[in-house]
Amino acid sequence: MSEAALAAGIAPDRVLLPESVEEVQAVVLEAGEAGTRLLPAGRGTWLGAGGWGVDPGRGDPDGEGQPGGGGEPGSDGRQGGGTDSPRIAGTERLDAVHHYEPADLTLTAGAGIGLDHLARVLEPNGQWLPFDGPACDTGTLGAAVASGVSGPLSSRYGATRDNVLGLEVVTGDGRILRIGGRVVKNVAGYDLVRLFTGSRGSLGVITRVSVRLFPRPESDVTLLFGGDAAGAVAAARRVCTHEVPVAAVEVIEGDEGGVGRAAAVAVRLLGGVDEVDESRARIVAAAGAEPSAALEGGESRAFHGRRIGWEAGAAVVARLAALPDRLAETLECARAVAALAGGATSADALQGVVRVKGSCPGGDLAALAEGLLRGRREMAAAGGTLTLSQAPAEVAARVGWTGGGGEEGGLTSRIKALFDPDSTLAPSCP
């Protein structure tokens, strides 16, 4: 954990690994009394990301309505508080499975359980939690919920927020709340579970999570179609609007597509054997060409597993999103950023999301920052967004993680104040 923090540019005052919700509560209250920032973390993957680790300064009213918003780093230096280093509350010891009834297709576990571990728990029952957002391979369940990011499977299975049934959290002022439940349909009271999903450690420390599970589909096939970049985008869009429902459509540029062409379109089919065979025949007929490769079963799973961990270790990670029919423009914008960052793109055609990663090999960081800002302006003009989740400090300081909030009329800062009145936890988002 300390290594992860240091890698994220945070020199923590101390790393705390509480073993129970009461210990988390004590840690939160102590940090509050000491006036020290406390950053919730799982295995530390997201520290430093999107405003979690680097804050705009204590007592800042979270910059509501200002350009750049609350997540802006660098306004008072890179360490939390401006006066001292933050503490980190790691939840990795809260990793027990509390309740798992396979026939209910629900599970309750400690927030610190690794998603890799969780997959092994579910496997013998032919079930899975289809979280395939960035870092959902080795990260923790709690971090997946806190980050709220989803991956290509969300149009088939719902996004992360659609599959979280209940949470136990410790708020920034030390209250233990148990919200939602462990049944799949529940409208009792206001939906605080959705508020916490994607709240990035700014409202509370998530200590326990109940999720909805799914049966693993009988058949898992990925068809890889090679082509040039423009052809790949057009082909991906045709699959997205085709009558045959597909589980995921990705456009992968460069060598990672593994088909020896400039770009590959990866079409994932999930379902019963008959259904997948039929879908495959119809997709191939619509494409007018046999796929360059077809991955089946474990090979297909492994291919997508690599996509989940695609950004791991990259110095720059950005996410561009707009409506799916603007995929060509979004990808164009992403390529420009990738060129400056010395990296690559990976597009989720169903959602209209393009991820960019880069290693910044001795690059011109000022030019990268300008490129990101230009990209953000272009995306915003089309109703889209560009967010950063990893970047060298000076780039993050110049660009900001999210580009700031929308027109929520002060709701964001009032919500932050309700759960974390002294800004003990991560800064509010955006």
Binding site: A103, T106, R161, V183, G189, R194, E243, E275, G405, T412
Partner: protein, 488 residues
């Protein structure tokens, strides 16, 4: 009645045909579909645009009156009942579909659009709107947003909040905010998700952006007939455990079957059966027959005496008829009906159903169950006659006991109808004071002055000064005091 000056301002904003103030015409706005709770509104306004809603909210709050937003009034929790002389803002005239963006499978609409009309408008594009509450031919999208409505097909497709991607909302102070929009990638808190299901307490949604799905290519519908309801419950658990994911699984119990078959809605279910289980699969044609055959086999193994399957759309509608018309049929055999909505873990269904039946017997009450079995979302309906005071008291006690066994099994008090007025006193069964206080806090983030739908969802706070003006009657008060509803 509202002050004359307010009536004049509202007429200025919404036109004379957009304000209802005479007593007779206000009658229909006294209750929602749970007619046990009735209170007359001060007035009803029917704006057409976001700006008219904004101005109406400002005018009403200037006079210090509370506001209750209302869609079609099909809710089943008393959520749209105007307490304290509130002014109802109805969305009936905000009924335009603003755009259907087929390329991105989304639509933008006004809140008064009827659920089924959205699917009808999307159909030429091969798309539909997935959440399908039983009242979908009458209920509005705005109401669905407020209640986070479900429906039979939510088993596979999820509830309203999965499909709402953006909202324009008028807050209690008359400000207009945009939440989300153009998909769901916007950074920041998921305020759209927080707003959906807020039961008219956070604001009035005046524009709604939703996601649409492609219409499934094929559908297979089965009807299993059982001599014991527990066996039907077991078939449901077995089907799910086997990894099958039907689009819907619905159970209709013996008393409900007999009510349906005795009515004009007769669907041809055997009247000596104790449960009928409707199972539906949808998706690509390929594979559907095999899935349906497997599900039918699970029904037989669990003890089904007969499994019917629909060969065409007409037969499919016939199999569904008993389920869809259950509420209407029950309305004919008893003057009053108490509808519950608890959700329990699916595996506890057989035990809970047995428990409900025992509670009914103990109190000498007829309890008819019709429910979303795949989700574990129960709808036990207690049939009674409010004029019989002793029976009314037994209904209250039985109702509380049923709720308690559902909560004890790991369940919740409402799966899709919402808390409203009817279940707010049951909230402490599932939440502690810290959670309830936090919900009050979040409500006041949106509505610091308790203007919107006061007296709903949350039990009154312990500090009476904070809640002055709103009665905290026991659950039965309203039931007993209200006049009997007109026969359905």
């Amino acid at each position: 009645m509202i002050p004359k000056a307010l009536a004049v301002s509202l007429t200025g904003i919404c036109g004379s045909d957009g304000v209802i103030a005479d007593r007779d015409r206000l009658l229909v706005y006294e209750s929602d579909a749970l007619t046990a709770y009735r209170h007359r509104p001060g007035a009803v306004v029917l704006p057409r645009t976001t700006d008219e809603v904004r101005r109406a909210v400002q005018a009403i709050t200037r006079h210090g009156l509370p506001i209750v937003p209302r869609g079609a009034g099909t809710g089943l929790s008393g959520g749209a009942v105007p307490l304290g002389g509130a002014v109802v803002i109805g969305t009936a005239r905000m009924n335009r579909i603003l755009s259907i963006d087929a390329a991105n499978r989304r639509a933008v609409l006004q809140p008064g659009v009827i659920n089924a009309e959205l699917s009808a408008a999307a159909a030429p594009h091969g798309l539909y709107y997935a959440p399908d509450p039983s009242s979908q031919t009458a209920c509005t999208i705005g109401g669905n947003v407020a209640e986070n409505s479900g429906g039979p097909h939510c088993l596979k497709y999820g509830v309203t909040s999965r499909y709402v991607t953006g909202l324009t909302v008028v807050l209690a102070d008359g400000s207009v905010v945009r939440l989300g929009g153009q998909g769901r990638e916007a950074p920041g808190y998921d305020l759209v998700g927080l707003f959906v299901g807020s039961e008219g307490c956070f604001g009035i949604a005046t524009e709604v952006e939703v996601g649409l799905l492609p219409v499934p290519e094929g559908v297979r519908t089965l009807l299993g007939i059982f001599d014991r309801i527990e066996d039907a419950g077991r078939a449901v658990s077995d089907i799910v455990s086997a990894g099958l994911l039907p689009a819907a699984m619905e159970i209709i119990d013996g008393p409900t079957i007999r009510a349906v078959e005795d009515s004009v809605f007769a669907a041809g279910y055997p009247t000596d059966a104790e449960a009928a289980l409707v199972i539906e699969f949808d998706g690509l044609e390929a594979g559907l027959d095999a899935e349906a055959a497997r599900a039918a086999e699970f029904c037989r193994r669990a003890g089904a005496r007969e499994v019917r399957s629909a060969k065409d759309e007409e037969e499919r509608l016939a199999l569904w008829k008993g389920r869809k018309k259950a509420f209407g049929a029950m309305g004919r055999i008893a003057p009053d009906l108490l509808v519950q909505d608890a959700t329990v873990p699916r595996t506890t269904l057989p035990a809970i159903l047995k428990g409900i039946s025992e509670i009914g017997k103990r109190y000498g009450l007829v309890v008819a169950n019709v429910f979303h079995a795949g989700d574990g979302n129960l709808h036990p309906n207690i049939l009674f006659d409010r004029r019989d005071e002793a029976e009314l008291e037994r209904v209250e006690r039985a109702s509380k006991e049923i709720m308690q066994i559902c909560v004890d099994s790991g369940g919740t008090i409402t799966g899709e109808h919402g808390v409203g007025l009817d279940k707010k006193h049951h909230m402490p069964l599932i939440y502690g004071q810290a959670e309830l206080d936090t919900m009050w806090g979040i409500r006041r983030v949106f509505d610091p002055g308790d203007v919107l739908n006061p007296g709903k969802v949350l039990p009154e706070e312990t500090d009476p000064a904070a809640r002055a003006g709103w009665g905290d009657g026991a659950v039965g008060e309203d039931l007993a005091a209200a006049p009997a509803p007109a026969p359905a």
